[in-house]
C-alpha cells in the first residue's frame, strides 16, 4: 500500500470507487451485438481457455452474449479467496485495490464475424443466442461442456477436456473432443457436405435423419460400433498396400453383422464388430461421414 499513499487524493478515491464496484462480484453480463450485414448469415466464434459454451438459436437477428466471468486465475481447486467474497463473514476489501486483472470476456464484431474470447486467467460461462442460420466456430479447453441447440449453419467444435453436445442442429458438423463424449442429433443434413465426429477418450453418439445418404467411415479402437441403419459394407479405399498385410487384414476388416433377432430385437439394432475402420453406405451413399473414437463406443442412430 505504499504506492497508494504516494498517490494524490483524487486518484485514491477513484481507485476506491473502482474497487467497491469490483467487490460487488461478477454478475451475469449481457451484450447484444448486431451483425454488420444481417441479410447474410454471420459467423460466431467463441474461444475459451477455461469455461463452458452454450449456443442456442433464437428468433432475433442480433447475437446476445451472456457471460459469467470469474477472474480468479488460480484454478478450480483454489477458489478460496473468491468464495470468501461472497460469504457474510468475508474480510472487507474496502479501501484496497484489486491487483488481479478484471474479468475479461471480449466480444468483437468485424465483417459479419462475431468473436467472443477470454483471457487465460478468466473462467467464463458463455451463453450465446444466435440467428438459426449462423455458422459457429467453438473452441474450449478446460472446465466445461460445449452445447449447441437448433443452429442450422455449419458447426465446427473442438473441446479438449469436456463433452460436446449438439441437439436439433441442421448444418454440416465437424466436432472433436479429446477427453469427452461427442453427442449430436441432426434434424436435417446439408446435402453433399462431409462431416466428422471424433473423440479420443469418449463415446461418439450421432443421430441422423433416417433418410440420410452418406458414406460412413466408423472406427473405435478399444470399443464397438453400433448402428440401426442398414449399412451396406463397402471396400476400404485403395491405398499403396503392403503385400504382407493384404488379404489377411482385409478379412478381419470385413463387417461382421450379428443379426441375432432374439438378442437385439428390443433395440432394433445389430452389432458391427470392428477390428479397424468399417466402411459402408447408408441409403445409397453420399458424402463422407467419419465417426471415430479411440477409447469408447461409436453409435450411429437413425432418428425415429
Amino acid at each position: 500500500m505504499r504506492m497508494s499513499r504516494l498517490l494524490p487524493m483524487g486518484a485514491c478515491s477513484l481507485l476506491l470507487i473502482g474497487g467497491l464496484a469490483y467487490a460487488q462480484s461478477t454478475p451475469a453480463n449481457q451484450v447484444t451485438v448486431p451483425f454488420s450485414d444481417p441479410t447474410r448469415p454471420g459467423t460466431v466464434k467463441v474461444s475459451l481457455i477455461r469455461g463452458s459454451i452454450t449456443v442456442k438459436a433464437g428468433t432475433a437477428r442480433d447475437v446476445t452474449v451472456t457471460t459469467t466471468a470469474e477472474a480468479d486465475g488460480r484454478g478450480d481447486l483454489d477458489r478460496g479467496p473468491r468464495d470468501r467474497d461472497r460469504r457474510d463473514d468475508a474480510p472487507s476489501t474496502q479501501g484496497m485495490r484489486r491487483l488481479t486483472k478484471p474479468a475479461g470476456v471480449n466480444v468483437e464484431e468485424e465483417n459479419n464475424v462475431i468473436t467472443v474470447s477470454s483471457d487465460v486467467m478468466t473462467r467464463a460461462e458463455v451463453i450465446v443466442t444466435v440467428p438459426a442460420a449462423t455458422s459457429l466456430v467453438l473452441r474450449a479447453v478446460n472446465g466445461g461442456q460445449v452445447l449447441v441447440d437448433g443452429v442450422n449453419g455449419s458447426i465446427d467444435v473442438t473441446n479438449v477436456n469436456g463433452a460436446i453436445r449438439l441437439t436439433n442442429v441442421g448444418g454440416p458438423v465437424t466436432a472433436h473432443a479429446t477427453n469427452g463424449r461427442v453427442t449430436a442429433t441432426l434434424k436435417q443434413v446439408a446435402a453433399g457436405k462431409p462431416m466428422a465426429f471424433t473423440s479420443f477418450n469418449g463415446d461418439v453418439d450421432v443421430t441422423l435423419p433416417a433418410s440420410t445418404k452418406a458414406n460412413l467411415k466408423l472406427r473405435s479402437d478399444r470399443g464397438d460400433v453400433y448402428t440401426d441403419f442398414d449399412v451396406k459394407a463397402t471396400q476400404p479405399p485403395p491405398r499403396t498396400a503392403q503385400q504382407d498385410r493384404g488379404r489377411d487384414q482385409r478379412e478381419r476388416d470385413r463387417v461382421e453383422r450379428d443379426r441375432d433377432p432374439d438378442k437385439d430385437k428390443d433395440k432394433g439394432k445389430y452389432r458391427i464388430e470392428v477390428d479397424r475402420s468399417v466402411y459402408g453406405t447408408i441409403n445409397g451413399g453420399g458424402p463422407d461421414f467419419e465417426l471415430r473414437t479411440f477409447n469408447g463406443d461409436v453409435f450411429v442412430r437413425a432418428a425415429k
Binding site: 455449419s154 465446427d156 458438423v173 465437424t174 453433399g192 462431416m195 471424433t198 479411440f294
Partner: protein, 258 residues
C-alpha cells in the same frame, strides 16, 4: 443429338453415367464456391487508383514474369469470379464434348483414333479442373469445405504434386483435427512418396492431438517405415505422451518387429 438419345444412352452406359455424375458433382462444387464480396464504392475508388497507377507503370515497363506468375497461380485463379464463370462455361463445353464423343464411340466401331484422343484430352481437362477445385476447397475458411477438399482428392486418379503437397500442408497445419485426420487417411494411397512419409513422421510427436498420433502410428506400421521403430520407441519412453498413445506405440513396435 437429341435429349432422349442421351438419356437412353446414359441409362445403358455405366461409364458415361459415372462421368455425368462426376460432372454434376463438379457443377455443385462450382456453385458452392463462395462469391467474392460486393465491392464497396471505396474499394472501387481504390481499384481505379490502382489501375491508373498500374497503367502508368506498365507504360514504362512490361510486367515481369515473376509478377505474372504471382498473379495467376491456380489457387488464386479459382477464387476470381470471372475465372469461376469461365470454368463453369468450359465445364459445359467439356460436358457436351464428353456426351458427344462417348455417344459417338458406341454408335459405331469405325470411329477414328481422333475421337479417342478427344476423350483422353477431355478426361485430362476434367482431371485438371478437379485438381484445381480441390486445391481451392483446401484453402477455404470453413472446416467443412476443407474436409470436402480432402475427400475430393480421393476422386483424383493420380493426385499430382500440387495436390499431395496441399494435403501434406493440411495434415501438418490445419487448425481442425478432423480435417487433419481425413488428410492422413487420404495420404495413405500415396504413402510410397518420401515427402508423405516425412510429413507423417512429424505428426507422430504431435501431443496436441492424440487421435492423430494414433493415426500416424498406424501409418508408420502400415508402411513399415524404416524409422518407425525408433520413433515409436521414443514415444513409449516419453512420459509426456498420452497413456493410450503409448500403448498404441507399443503395439506398433510389436507389429513392426514381427
Amino acid at each position: 443429338m437429341r435429349c432422349e438419345e442421351v438419356r437412353d444412352h446414359l441409362a445403358s452406359c455405366v461409364d458415361c453415367r459415372a462421368e455425368r455424375n462426376e460432372l454434376d458433382a463438379l457443377w455443385g462444387a462450382l456453385g458452392d464456391l463462395p462469391l467474392a464480396e460486393t465491392p464497396s464504392s471505396r474499394m472501387r475508388e481504390r481499384f481505379s487508383a490502382m489501375l491508373a497507377a498500374e497503367r502508368a507503370s506498365t507504360n514504362l515497363r512490361p510486367a515481369s514474369r515473376g509478377d505474372r506468375r504471382d498473379m495467376w497461380t491456380p489457387r488464386r485463379m479459382v477464387r476470381e469470379p470471372l475465372v469461376q464463370a469461365a470454368l463453369a462455361a468450359s465445364l459445359l463445353l467439356v460436358g457436351v464434348l464428353v456426351g458427344r464423343t462417348s455417344l459417338g464411340t458406341t454408335n459405331g466401331s469405325s470411329q477414328s483414333a481422333s475421337a479417342v484422343a478427344d476423350i483422353t484430352e477431355v478426361r485430362q481437362e476434367l482431371r485438371d479442373m478437379r485438381q484445381m477445385l480441390t486445391l481451392s476447397l483446401l484453402q477455404q475458411q470453413s472446416a467443412t469445405e476443407r474436409l470436402r477438399g480432402v475427400s475430393w482428392t480421393s476422386q483424383i486418379d493420380q493426385p499430382g504434386n500440387e495436390v499431395v503437397s496441399a494435403l501434406l500442408d493440411t495434415l501438418l497445419h490445419d487448425p481442425n483435427v478432423n480435417v487433419r485426420l481425413a488428410a492422413i487417411d487420404a495420404l495413405r494411397r500415396v504413402s510410397d512418396r518420401s515427402d508423405v512419409r516425412a510429413g507423417t513422421r512429424r505428426v507422430v510427436g504431435d501431443t496436441s492431438a492424440p487421435l492423430l498420433q494414433v493415426a500416424a502410428i498406424d501409418f508408420l506400421v502400415e508402411t513399415r517405415d524404416p524409422d518407425g521403430p525408433a520413433l515409436l520407441r521414443a514415444l513409449v519412453d516419453d512420459r509426456r505422451t498420452d497413456e493410450a498413445v503409448r500403448g498404441r506405440a507399443q503395439w506398433g513396435l510389436e507389429r513392426l518387429a514381427s
